[in-house]
């Protein structure tokens, strides 16, 4: 999931208004931008949607890393289309967040100076072509787990953005799986690449769902507001249950010696990711945090003259059309 550890804000609002707001949510009504909403609801959503949007944008980098080295024209085209979709997701989500009274530029500045986060997963490097398969299969797969329920979230613009995004994400996941299939049916070197990609992306993918429920302080309020639909552990379990048979089908080994099917629960038992590593990644010490932020900052700084130039031109055009009236 692209939003992790979203701190929810307590609300200082009028208790009667709060109760009426909660009743609307409990009835399953959608909250729209012009409706009254508690300040905490608004702020938490900005943080959550903003983080999700930033993840789409930063997420272009690990895949962009292979666009210029894609092994065939068709793979190059598919990867370009995917990266373009992700940028589009970023755009829808920034638009959804803007309905809450914050601008895209403000959110961008907050990403660039570290006040806002993006998903920890994009701080891991993509080292071989098989990583393009693993990212689609596992990362888009984990994102879908989280985003499908969010199509029913209480905030209207967010729910509608999710509907559009989910369709494309499941397409990405199938394409990622297809890359893995080709590798697993290929040469020894390709199989080795595929296994290596799973080894490196398995635990970071499990981390995408955020800390274990017992350590997740902010879930209760967000779940009451229906901006978080399931707990972190529920989604993680669902992801493991879905993904393990897929790995078996590919002939790959999930890098968890303690992974076992539990007849009683009807779920897989699995090893939790290393939460100390997760906290380090969030603190800026993942393998690629500095590279990613440098790349985004450079793009933004080097693009300043373009944005300013186009704005200056638009202003001149407006002046001309006003003068003509």
């Amino acid at each position: 999931m692209y939003a992790q550890m979203i701190k929810s804000e307590a609300s200082q609002d009028d208790p009667e208004k709060l109760a009426a707001f909660q009743a609307r949510i409990d009835r399953g009504e959608k909250i729209e931008p012009k409706d009254w909403m508690p300040e905490g609801y608004r702020k938490t959503l900005i943080r959550q949607i903003g983080q999700h949007a930033h993840s789409e944008i930063v997420g272009q980098l690990p895949e962009g890393n292979w666009v210029t080295r894609a092994p065939t024209l068709e793979r190059k085209a598919i990867l370009l289309a995917k990266v373009q979709d992700e940028a589009g997701h970023g755009l829808y989500l920034y638009c959804a967040a803007e309905t809450l009274g914050i601008s895209r530029d403000e959110m961008t500045e907050m990403l660039l100076d570290g006040r806002m986060k993006y998903s920890s997963i994009f701080n891991y490097p993509t080292l071989t072509w098989a990583d393009m398969g693993a990212v689609g299969w596992l990362v888009d797969g984990a994102a879908i787990m989280n985003q499908v329920p969010l199509q029913r979230t209480s905030y209207g613009p967010y729910a509608r953005a999710m509907v559009r995004i989910c369709k494309e994400e499941s397409f990405h996941q199938r394409q990622g799986f297809d890359v893995m299939m080709k590798m697993c049916q290929g040469s020894e070197a390709q199989k080795r690449m595929a296994q290596d990609a799973l080894n490196r992306f398995w635990f970071p993918s499990l981390m995408m769902f955020g800390p274990s429920d017992k350590d997740s302080k902010h879930s209760a309020q967000s779940m009451k507001w229906r901006i978080k639909m399931n707990t972190n552990d529920e989604l993680r379990q669902k992801f493991v249950d879905q993904t393990v048979p897929q790995a078996e089908y590919l002939g790959l080994t999930v890098p968890d010696p303690d992974l076992t099917w539990n007849e009683e629960t009807g779920h897989y038992d699995f090893t939790e990711p290393d939460w100390a590593e997760f906290m380090e990644v969030l603190a800026g010490n993942g393998p690629c945090n500095r590279d990613r932020m440098e790349a985004r900052n450079r793009a933004w700084d080097e693009g300043a003259w373009v944005r300013e130039g186009l704005m200056a031109h638009a202003t001149k055009q407006r002046a001309v059309s006003v003068a003509a009236e």
Partner: protein, 250 residues
């Protein structure tokens, strides 16, 4: 190589080389809308490459595929215009390069929709719609940035000055052009200069940019006689994976 194969290879190498160059921008554009547009244009061009080089490979009849041509040839076998292999530079140079090419490309494709070879005409008919959009978009950016701030104007003028010596090659015909013109009614490059000037010069004027003096034209891309040093580095990246694992299926 038959004239048809050479002709198709030139078309496909143009779209491949520019498509690749644009894909180098991935995730690094000056604004989200530009990231999307650059990826989209690159995607169109790679799609056109699949069609042109796919046809070239079939016409060649040596059992090669479009991928073999794209990933397996060395610099001297590439037949793209020198303009397109020039490095991206800043966003202004990237857009100027596209602008100069897009309007030539559009004229070329319009002509190709009329040729007697049905397959060539079919590919052109599909591509021409995409390229009409590329040409509109690059023109809009050239005007916006040329007539924007002092800095954006200076950068666009620099880009135009830097790339201008590569414009002429687009309009220099050779025996391959003459043969395909005679056989299929394909457009003759020399004849495209006047309509290109008609399309491009007013836009440059609107962008408040000064067209450089001088008609000097670097040549050697479309004939393959002498590429620039840049193409080899591009191919090193683009072809590395394909070449490192020969015969692999991806």
């Amino acid at each position: 190589m038959s004239d048809l194969v050479t002709y198709l290879t030139r078309l496909g190498d143009n779209t491949l080389v520019l498509g690749h160059r644009l894909s180098e921008w991935c995730g690094r554009g000056p604004a989200l809308e530009e990231d999307i547009a650059l990826a989209n244009t690159a995607l169109d061009l790679i799609g056109q490459t699949q069609m042109w080089l796919g046809y070239a490979a079939e016409a060649e009849a040596k059992g090669r595929t479009a991928d073999d041509l794209a990933m397996g040839r060395d610099v001297w076998d590439f037949r793209n215009l020198l303009l397109l292999e020039q490095p991206n530079g800043d966003f202004g140079r990237t857009i100027m390069r596209s602008f100069l090419f897009d309007h030539w490309h559009l004229l070329m494709l319009r002509g190709l929709t009329q040729v007697s070879d049905a397959r060539m005409a079919g590919i052109a008919a599909k591509a021409v719609k995409e390229v009409a959009y590329h040409a509109d978009r690059s023109a809009e950016l050239v005007v916006g940035l040329g007539d924007g701030t002092e800095e954006s104007h200076r950068r666009m003028q620099d880009a135009l000055d830097r790339l201008w010596p590569y414009v002429g090659e687009m309009f220099i015909g050779d025996e391959v052009d003459a043969a395909t013109a005679a056989e299929f009614g394909a457009p003759v490059p020399d004849m495209l200069r006047a309509p290109w000037d008609d399309a491009v010069l007013p836009i440059l004027a609107q962008a408040t940019l000064t067209v450089p003096d001088g008609a000097f034209a670097h040549q050697g891309g479309k004939t393959g006689a002498r590429h620039t040093e840049h193409l080899g580095h591009m191919l090193t990246t683009m072809q590395w994976l394909h070449r490192a694992y020969p015969g692999a299926n991806w």
